[in-house]
Point group: D2
Chain length 398, copies 4
């Protein structure tokens, strides 16, 4: 059956040439990202357990972790959490399949604790956080769906969205948070995992406004704190200037009032310890960014099952398609992918698969269209590859 | 002080002329909307209580209600909920102010129950739903903020987004859900409040795919159900055709398999009774729609305090600005507003206030710019009007 | 099969002749009693539902309601709850039986709310209390047990205990709480339901120390409060003096410091609103009293299933036996019954059924023994009568 | 001020000479005991934290831990928990004192997890159990109480009860559980911590009915299981025969049906993993036993503060008094202590301190009375010693 693929020439000022661009990334220790990370960790662990016990991934949907903030009393050289952070893992999972019991809640709990231990490294799981779990079973219809041998059918009428390539600002914002954690934190343990990077490009001036919850016990005093901030800002600016010729300025914890001794200090490296609640799907899209100048999907990607859940499959798929199109079709300046499912139809047959393309000046759009369609059709023919990649943790979801 | 207002001429195919357009609305009984509605109802009740007890709105942020789905056994002519829906109200609120105690949790509980009773009308609060509450106090800095007499300062570095006017499809999708509940449900009580409308425009063909959880006890049998569906589809198509000359086709509950007796029946009118969890901020934006072809903010609007919370103020403000610009400046075809705050700065002085305008052909952009700037400046000068409108419930948040 | 009934002549100073006697009763609004009441209400509602749907009572055990106290701000003429009381209904119930689904949680929630509404009459369920529910399914062995047609087998190795007759002090303590609620509260609505009566008899002097959470909105001011206390103490003393020739003195709310304005005032009539948590089985035994001078069972009676749960059946059975023995055998001064089950054995065949009797002076113990055995054997032969009485709510459990 | 000490000659068949005696002990892994243990561990940790931060123990009361059973799938050589056990720590604690914040919830969580790790050794805290916490602040009156320098005043009108010496059966029942865990478990790791010992003495025949949740992963198969049971019964019988000349027979897991493969196997060593909920104060009294033939208090001892909470102080105090009286006054055969407080009065001045004594035949009761009074008066004069002993963990509470 022919797929309803639609490639459209989009007349639009490319993002790089618009005057104002805003891009945001919430780091892994941001309360919303913790929710995303927990939801996805639980889903991956369930996938693994299902395959181990039943040979196939069974229906589940664990995309609703709620973080309720704690209370803390941070200090230079110490500090302590007063009231633990509370996380409620919410979702549905198949708990019994052909006589085999699947310990969904126990697996979820264990995966969630493991995730926090590995990623929110400054938090003491024994006293700083409570992880609770309310995991129902799904509706029977949904539970049936994976028994069938064919391409799964869509669980919902929903859509996924992706674009490529990243703009300069998008690259910089993404990389800023990543490198602070994966590189600079090794040298400066006082960097917390709760980093929010807000990037603004006003013509050729890029401003990075960074919020980072610093970890008190690794910082001696205010002088030390101030020095670390300077070191971090230098690091971030240097990093950005490798990616752009525009002017870059970086600001860190602009809410600080150092004279009053009021700075963004934490015990655990995340503001979830003090007043900031968190939810799944309210932070980064599956490409790692929030990009209000680009089309976006509201669907949470983290925690959904990678078999038939459109919110899980079509978002990373759109992004992968867009990235492959940009690689395969040089005349494409910007591409936006939208995939719309219809409940009950096979997921490789979207109601519409739309690509909007801003081509290079003078490009031959007919050949651009043909090459783009080919990439899209290829991906849809091999759609279960996304399922595999997601199950194996090869694709980020936030 | 001059405001950093930036009006840009946007070169772009207007949405009405793009080939593919997708618009979605989740109705008030959708689990995500229930979360939004509860969060906003709690915030409004707190505003009222604060004004009654202290004369001013105090800091709060109740934007994280989590709905955990129940289990049900629906039937024609009856049915019952097996396991109640669980709602956890999460947030922060000031509980004590200058010696006055504010019963934040009791107010929240009471407002939430009242909201459900009025809006999710087919649900029996005595046995179908548990409403729980975990409401912390905020951080001390945030609590201080409202003591000052001046324009409040932004609580965060964040942004709000709005656009105008609605496209045909946007109008139709919005109105479809609204009229089914406010008008047709009076005649057909079997219409549940959980209605999801997915609108697709492919050139001049509009397809409305509607999902509606029908209420079993108001429907006698399968024949009755099928008749009601037809009546609803006719109603929806007629309604749409008043708004457009394009071709309209409507589909309702396409997942139904009427021969097998498997249709979208509920006890309470919402799928939260059976497997669908819900969260705040994952459904409609504050204009009532999800519009992946338009810039959108990820910030939840519902439940945030309307005094200094950018997520609450800048989203409806952007939308109001855009609507007023369209009214005041006839040469504007499409306008997109983005407002970016900086933490600690007065909310009437955004870091950048950007308007992107697609003018009518032949418009004088200099005068368009001037008139647009005037509308934006006027709104920013009177920014606390948004606070009033929100507190009084004059603006929807989802 | 002969039953192992053992009647023993107990050499002991009868309680009425001991120098010191202590008796306590916690009224229906005491947090422990609220827990008991909720647990029992849930069990009764489940019994009814099981009979309606399946024709028989199925396995359940809902004897673990936990009350977490709220916070309140009581005032004469008003007051309000600040933080709602939280009740967690805990237990096991059969949720599916031969293809029939039983809405155990929904039934529990509804029964619990109904119970509070009827009994804790000064509490506003819409804002003063959250009722939550965690109800598991039992172990499969236990679920099997009721399929069999014979006399049920004991679920546990456990015992029940009862005595008769009530001493003067026991009668007085019991009646004091009962009459304050069922009679005097009609005239004085300011009497709260949380009444604790501690009775001490020191030889011929009876002291009743009563704690009663008064309801602020029904009391105008301190004078009114003081007048009501006097009226209540007079009422209680008059009541007691109808039962005894001993000296009676009554004290009410001895912790009050009326000059400082610190008195036992509440909003809802129960101290659960302010700091007093509650659990099942920590208050009154199934005869309505705590009697440290008498043998007692630690087993909670409320909430257990009345089919095979020894904690539910043997406690009221022992009490009924004791009361019937006293009626049937006049020479019995005091009788103590202990019934010990063995897991897996029919409940009408206890491992030992022991009666300890203090006979009247000069009684013929051989005939006392024979008559006592007859009463006991009769009750054991008709043991399911207890199940019926409990299911129908004819026997109190606390 | 003279204390109201009352020593009474009790005419009563001593327990050792009554025909029927029943004694029970719930081991440390019984769900009710886990609740007790958690509550007490939390209280001890709070005492330590208060002393560290404020120099004195502050008001708290953490005596309401609720265990909600999980679900499990035990197997020889393995098995796994399906749904984690849920524990809710409930109580009140002072969270702020003269400007110092006390991290009550974090301390509670950490102490609870530590307790489980050390005592319920076969349970994997990372996946088998969720520990949650709802800890309020107390009422202001109660919080004031410890500011005063004098002997604390009673928080309630309540009583404590104790007796000595242990009967043979009491010694045997207590020791059976203790030795199985502290001694035999070293050799047989398959012994779970959830051991319930029910002792019945019928004249000179002692029957020990023991329930022990065996740990599947330490047991190879049914033969191994049967061998272990025999080894355990031999061990228990030998142990008992060192304490008594009566006939002893021991039964273990009498509900087992080994032919059907249905035996009492667990994953974690406690039946809380599968259907058995648990509460504080429903198991052993503070002497480690349930003794329905002796006077008992219903008050939970575990988790209460050891400063002014009668339920915490008067129960171990009564037991210590009784034990010292038996040592100091050889003519005492059996002694029962009852201490009754009056709210607001100093705890060293009980409303009545009653000793009931069954003396040896021919004892001089006048001198018995005098010596007994001396022991009681001495203890009351040094009542805060109990507080110290409890805070330091020198006295068991269950």
């Amino acid at each position: 059956m022919m797929r309803n693929i639609n490639v459209e020439h989009l007349i639009q000022t490319p993002i790089e040439k618009q005057k104002i661009e805003i891009v945001e990334r919430k780091g892994i220790g941001h309360p919303d990202s913790i929710s995303d990370g927990l939801s996805e960790a639980v889903s991956r662990a369930l996938c693994k357990e299902y395959i181990k016990k039943c040979g196939v991934v069974l229906h589940h949907n664990t995309d609703e972790t709620q973080i309720v903030a704690g209370r803390s009393s941070p200090k230079f050289g110490g500090g302590e959490v007063i009231q633990p952070i509370y996380a409620l893992l919410v979702g549905r999972a198949t708990k019994e399949f052909e006589g085999v019991e699947i310990p969904a809640e126990a697996v979820a709990l264990s995966a969630a604790r493991e995730y926090i231990r590995r990623n929110i490294v400054d938090l003491d799981l024994e006293r700083d956080m409570i992880i609770d779990c309310k995991m129902g079973t799904g509706s029977s219809d949904l539970r049936d769906v994976f028994n069938r041998a064919r391409v799964p059918v869509a669980n919902d009428t929903s859509f996924g969205i992706g674009h490529a390539p990243f703009s300069e600002l998008e690259q910089i914002v993404y990389e800023t948070e990543r490198k602070l954690i994966t590189d600079l934190k090794k040298k400066i343990p006082g960097i917390g995992t709760d980093i929010k990077v807000m990037g603004l490009r006003d013509d050729n001036d890029i401003t990075l406004t960074i919020c980072c919850g610093m970890v008190g016990r690794h910082i001696d005093d205010m002088d030390h704190y101030i020095n670390l901030k300077e070191e971090m800002m230098d690091y971030v600016t240097d990093l950005a200037m490798k990616r752009t010729d525009r002017n870059v300025s970086a600001f860190l914890n602009t809410g600080d009032n150092e004279k009053c001794g009021s700075v963004f200090l934490t015990v655990t490296g995340t503001s979830a310890e003090m007043g900031d609640d968190g939810s799944v799907g309210r932070g980064n899209r599956c490409n790692g960014l929030i990009t209000p100048g680009r089309p976006m999907s509201m669907e949470a990607t983290s925690g959904k099952n990678p078999i038939n859940h459109i919110g899980k499959i079509y978002n990373p798929l759109s992004t992968q398609m867009a990235r492959d199109i940009v690689k395969a079709v040089p005349e494409v300046q910007d591409v936006y992918i939208r995939l719309l499912s219809q409940i009950g139809k096979p997921i490789d047959q979207p109601l519409v698969a739309s690509a909007q393309i801003i081509p290079e000046d003078g490009a031959n759009f007919a050949s651009v269209r043909a090459e783009t369609e080919a990439v899209m059709d290829e991906w849809l023919s091999n759609i279960t590859r996304i399922t595999d990649m997601v199950s194996k943790g090869e694709l980020d979801t936030f």
